[in-house]
Symmetry: C2
């Protein structure tokens, strides 16, 4: 029942008023189990996807280089994009929703810092694929495939979200109380678009993976072109990478939704502005 005890909560949702104040709002065993399961599973998946991408690129695609070797320069693209758009952004979203031990302003700061760490990864990842397309013989066209279209929109949305979040945080530092209503209106919009952006990042990664895989095993005979045992193993690694990416999309969306579902305590803790 989410309609009980809500009136006991302070209106502004300040960081000092904690959910433990109301003993009836304490989590039960099931809530804690669910919470820990989400935290552990998402950590494993978010780190795992980066490790799996690194493993794939280093052992099956020949490692890294910069513009002296466009083919190897391309390899930076999946690793940096997965690091920026999936691992850092994923941790940032989950931390904001699930962190229950820090003052709320610090949670916001960590949320912003994680997203800030994603920016150089994304910029370098974008540059590396741009360079490797232009420097390869013959040059490959940019912004032609579905993956590139999705990626372009995802990057634009990410930049917009970061700028809005950053200035909203600055405003919060300057005058907290007078901007409350404005920030309160923006929170659900920022959250919805943030989740949408994360879903788009997942879709972009998955389409890029499928494109790369099809490019590698070649045209119409693709389904049956299993040439060597090594390429077969690589195929399964890439499929697993796709599955892990989709699983991350699901666990993040479930975590963001579920974290305000079962107990009123959660509604309060996670809906604060």
């Amino acid at each position: 029942m989410r309609d009980r005890h809500l009136n006991k909560m302070p209106r502004g949702g300040s960081a000092t008023a904690r959910y433990e104040e109301d003993p009836e709002n304490a989590w039960n065993c099931g809530s804690w189990f669910e919470y820990l399961l989400i935290v552990i599973l998402s950590t494993i998946l978010l780190v795992g996807v980066l490790v799996l991408t690194l493993f794939w690129v280093i052992f099956y695609r020949g490692g890294f280089a910069w513009s002296e070797n466009p083919e190897l320069q391309f390899n930076l693209h999946p690793v940096l994009m997965v690091a920026g758009f999936i691992t850092f952004s994923g941790f940032s979203i989950l931390l904001y929703r699930l962190c229950r031990c820090l003052k709320h302003i610090y949670v916001k700061l960590v949320h912003m810092l994680f997203h800030a760490c994603a920016i150089p990864c994304i910029a370098l990842g974008f540059l590396s694929v741009f360079d490797s397309h232009n420097l390869s013989e013959p040059p490959k066209p940019n912004f032609y495939s579905l993956h590139t279209w999705l990626g372009f929109v995802t990057m634009g949305m990410f930049a917009m979200q970061f700028v809005i979040g950053f200035f909203s945080f600055l405003i919060l530092l300057c005058c907290e109380n007078r901007t409350y209503n404005c920030r309160a209106t923006m929170v659900p919009i920022h959250a919805s678009f943030g989740l949408a952006n994360f879903m788009m990042a997942i879709a972009t990664c998955v389409t890029g993976l499928v494109e790369k895989e099809r490019q590698m095993i070649g045209g119409d005979s693709g389904d049956t072109a299993i040439s060597t045992r090594s390429s077969e193993i690589e195929h399964y690694i890439m499929n697993s990478l796709g599955i892990v990416l989709v699983a991350i999309g699901i666990i993040v969306s479930v975590a963001v939704r579920r974290s305000n579902a079962p107990a009123t305590a959660k509604v309060y803790v996670t809906e604060r502005i």
Copy 2:
């Protein structure tokens, strides 16, 4: 402020107690605008994606056939799967969250009927691709690519969700009050898994689309293999289809999240069991 007026609401969330009872819970202009925007936009996208798929298959892939022509039999697969997993399921999810004029039990019935309409589409779509793989020369392997793995999990989850929802509805018809707690526990799980399933369906469609496109334009030279004007137009149609699919994923997840965000009225209306 979501903590006001919640205590005025009836606990069980029965269909007869409506949000209009509390004048302070009435929607403002912005809420109605947002609501109508989501309804109109999602209807256009959900119908549009099916029309676009039909257009692509009929005008660029040669139309339909059954087992007498495995190549054309394959064409049933994208159309039926988009109809079942995207159009019918999408309308079903949105109707459940957004329908504000029917008694809640009828909303549930319509939700179930839409999902029931999806079942024959999915079954036929699955059969058609299975047949076309086995009957083609040489037979293509089944369950090899990322698309097929994702599709398999999506179908399994869909079946599980339908069975659980169906029996939960039957229980509701038999003994509404005694099963309230049990059903109340299941609602957020069913909703979360339902949304996750829809996201997986989107990911499956997009990977299938990219796979098909790469198969068509062929191997490593894929990026530059624009042979005719017709195939270039087809490429843009397929890219647009991918963009529409991702847009549907975003609007559905935003609609499901946002519909309980701005006003307490919405919390009440959409969180009822």
